[in-house]
Every structure is written in structure tokens, then in C-alpha cells.
Symmetry: C2
Subunit: 271 residues, 2 copies
């Protein structure tokens, strides 16, 4: 069973102004899914101390196995994810020696001849909530942060996609894998034309009843010229038994395909 | 002042599986922002009755002026946004005559020669929470829904982007405008090269102190070949006084530009 739940909290005014599409959250969700875990909620909030601490507290109360935050851990005044977390957990933010060394190393690599001034913004990036650990950022300055709160593992990633991805791959992916060992997530798509969603609905219903565990969802994707609707159908299953998952997914796929063809719909593509 | 708060709740497993980027939420956020209102939270949740009703209840408790949901109002079994809302509000879901007429009209337009069978999936799309009103969908079958709960206006949109946008433009935009009359949101971008974010941080700090109301945020966007960092700086202001907003935004922009040039950074572009 897929019971390793993950919440994603994305911090950044740009997300709420509609300036930036939250591709970080989608990328993390796709990774988490393919590792056999389940994203249960994605929340985007502004760079606001109260809102961050509320969102963190709410997430912890739901007891997910992981909370992954993105954004707000850089050097500027409005990078306040770590302060928000410290407030939510009622702990202090304090300079961390490991984090400081990571920042030092990063600067030394990029500017071998310059001496690093430990300015306020740089010290800020090295301050993490008490009880937390710095996580190496292989491609940027601000280290990630890891905390364990009542069994929920919190990981904080930067907002820069390249850095978020690198830290996820190096440090979060192994942690999630270790909690989902043996679980798989499998999916297939059927692109179908010439059937309306309200006609497809009862077919999906029947097939899902026959193949428990398989989840089928239809996504209408517009109308062709000539008025023929196009629908993408997504079939997926999460299971700790690879054989059963495969059997269920393919069984459901064949049965649904047969029903579609019998109804006169056209299957344009299977992936 | 921009005090018209808006929460967006996006419903759909595809968002949490990482199959679909939540462009609906970003589009709505950009519209809401340019209408002078403020998106305070975006939440994505799966097609799950409990999760939908919890998210709705939590949002209402924060007392935003608007809650806009996307997804989950179609004909299939897993379209359960309206059931989730009904559960959250402890009201019944009941067939709505206006909604039914809208569905009838839509079919009549698309299939002028066929007679509409009122199948279960079609009736489902016409069932809305008691106290709610159907909202015309100018480009698709499922009508939107509008509800007023203790002063919070809830709008439910379909997940299909084209339909969500059309209903937003026709029915939500005028409602938001009427609440933000006279408010403006203005923004500018400065693309700058050759300065590190930790050097930029104190400049932003100073400029923001001098120009209260103007919000400035730096977005690192990678490293050029040669190791020169690229940063996009976003300046924005929301205000009920257009003149003051313009004055503040331009003042802050010029002052920051001067500081950047004085530091040796290169301004690549201003938009």
C-alpha cells in the first residue's frame, strides 16, 4: 500500500501574484509519486512569517511522513521560511557551523581568490531552526535544511529550480525511497476521440469496480474540428506488489479499451 | 489598500501526481492581482471528499473575501468538489433547474438533431449545494457554481482551462472588480547581471525602507558563463491611489537602479 504521505509547501509572493507557475511543486510531486509515495497536498503561501508558520503547523497536524518546503531560504530579508518554521515549532533560529562551512566552501569554489566576508545576509543563510541539520546544496549557496518533528521529516529546499532539484536528488530521494521500499506506482494513458465525458463516465465506473486499486480519471482536452471531443484517460495504480500492479493496470486498460471501441469511440494513442 | 483577499483551491489527483502543472491557479492569480485583489493562498488537493471538505472549511475559517475552486465539477464519479463543499457547509446537494437548463442548452447547441437523455452523469452536473447558484459556462457543459458563506463568496470553476478562463472572465472578474474598485497593482522588472544576491540584499532593504508600500523581491535566475550571476528583481505596489503607486514604484526603481550601477552591476533590461 502507498501510505507514505508527503505535503509540499511552496513559499513565494511570485506564486500568488501569478508571476511564476509552481513547477517546483509539480516536479517534486512527480518524483515523489514515482518513488512510490503519495503527495496529499500542495500549498502555496506568500513570503509572510505568520502565513508560513500557520501553514507549517497545519501540515504537521495532519501528520504526513514528509513535509517538503520550497523557497524562502536565501539571503534576502523576505526569505523567511526558516524563521516561519522556527516560530511554528517554538524553537530558536541559530547559526549552524555545518551550514556556515557549506557556504564557505561554495564561495571558495566560485571565487578562489576572494576572501569571504561573513556579511549579515550570508550569516542569515547559515542560521537554521534549533534541532535541524544543514543539507548540502551541490549547485548553490543556501544549504537545505532537515528537521524531524514528531515523526514528520521536514525538508527545506531553495526556490531556484536547479538547486531544489539537486538537493532533492541527493538528499530527499533516498529518504523517501527508504520509506516506500518495494512500493511501485504505475500508470498508462489512453487518448480517445469521439466520445463525450458523460458517456465515458459509466464505463470508467464499471472498470474501476472490476479492478480494485486501479484509479482511472478522464481529462477532457478540447473539441476537435467537427465537434468530436478529445479525452485523455489516465489509469494508475500504487501497490507494494509489482506483479499485482501490472496485472491490474493492464487488465483495466484492456477492458476499458474494449468498451471504448464497442461504443464507437476512436483510440488515438496509448502510452 | 489591497485588502480583498482571495484563496484558490485546485482539486485534482493529476496535480498531486505531478502529471499536470497548476497553470489554472497561476492564471487566476495573475488575473486577481491585476484586478487589485490579493491571492493569499493556493491549495491543491486530490479528488477526495474528506480532503475537499477540510480544505474548504479551513479556507472559510480564514475569512477571505473570495474562494475560487478549480476542477471536480464534471460528470464523472471522481468529480466531487460540489459534494465536498456541501459536506463542509452541512447542506444538501440538489438538482438545480437553472443548471439543468444550461446543460440542456449546451447540448442543444452542439447536437441540434439529438435529444438529450438526462443520464445520471448529466444530472450530477446539475446538482449544486443548497443555497448556491449556477453560473453560465459559455464554452463547456458543466456550469460553474457560486455560493455565499458568511460573507465569503465561493466560486467553483471546471478544471478544463478554457472553461475556467471563460467563466472567470464572464462572472468572477466583475465580482472581484466591484470589491477592489479604485485599487491598482503596478509592477516592474529589472534584469541585472554581475551582482550576487547577498550583495543585492542590503540595497533592496534600503530602497524598501525609503519607499514604503513598494515590495521588492530578487529572483536569482542562474549563472552566466564566466560565473556572473543573473538576477531578476521584481518591484510591485498595490494601492488605492494610482498617482502615489506610480510615484513610489518609479522612485524605488530609479533609486535601486542607481545603487546597482554604482556597485558595478550591469542592468540588462527594464520592463
Amino acid at each position: 500500500m502507498r501510505n507514505c504521505s508527503v505535503e509540499i509547501i511552496s513559499v513565494g509572493n511570485e506564486l500568488l501574484l501569478g508571476n511564476t507557475v509552481n513547477t517546483n511543486a509539480t516536479w517534486i510531486a512527480s518524483q515523489v509519486t514515482s518513488l512510490g509515495a503519495k503527495v496529499t497536498r500542495i500549498t502555496a503561501i506568500p513570503d509572510d512569517l505568520d502565513q508560513i508558520s500557520h501553514a507549517i503547523r497545519e501540515a504537521i497536524r495532519r501528520r504526513p511522513v514528509f513535509v517538503i518546503t520550497t523557497g524562502g531560504i536565501g539571503p534576502t530579508f523576505d526569505d523567511m521560511t526558516l524563521r516561519g518554521i522556527a516560530r511554528a515549532l517554538r524553537v530558536r533560529l541559530k547559526p549552524d557551523r555545518t551550514a556556515l562551512n557549506m557556504i564557505r566552501e561554495h564561495y571558495a569554489l566560485r571565487f578562489p581568490r576572494r576572501r569571504l566576508n561573513l556579511t549579515k545576509p550570508r550569516l542569515k543563510m547559515a542560521s537554521i531552526p534549533s534541532g535541524g541539520k544543514a543539507v548540502r546544496n551541490p549547485v548553490g549557496t543556501a544549504p537545505g535544511v532537515k528537521l524531524n518533528v514528531h515523526g514528520t521529516e521536514i525538508f527545506c529546499l531553495p526556490g531556484v529550480p536547479r538547486e531544489a532539484k539537486a538537493i532533492f536528488r541527493d538528499s530527499i530521494s533516498p529518504s523517501v525511497s527508504s520509506r516506500t521500499a518495494g512500493s511501485v506506482f504505475m500508470e498508462r494513458w489512453i487518448d480517445v476521440r469521439g466520445i463525450m465525458e458523460s458517456m465515458l463516465a459509466p464505463m470508467i465506473d464499471q472498470v474501476m469496480r472490476r479492478w480494485p486499486g486501479v484509479y482511472i480519471k478522464s481529462h477532457p482536452s478540447g473539441i476537435e474540428t467537427g465537434g468530436r471531443p478529445r479525452i485523455k484517460v489516465h489509469l494508475s495504480i500504487g501497490s507494494s506488489n509489482v506483479g499485482k500492479a501490472k496485472h491490474g493496470l493492464l487488465g483495466a486498460m484492456h477492458e476499458l479499451s474494449d468498451k471504448l471501441v464497442a461504443s464507437g469511440a476512436k483510440i488515438a494513442r496509448v502510452r
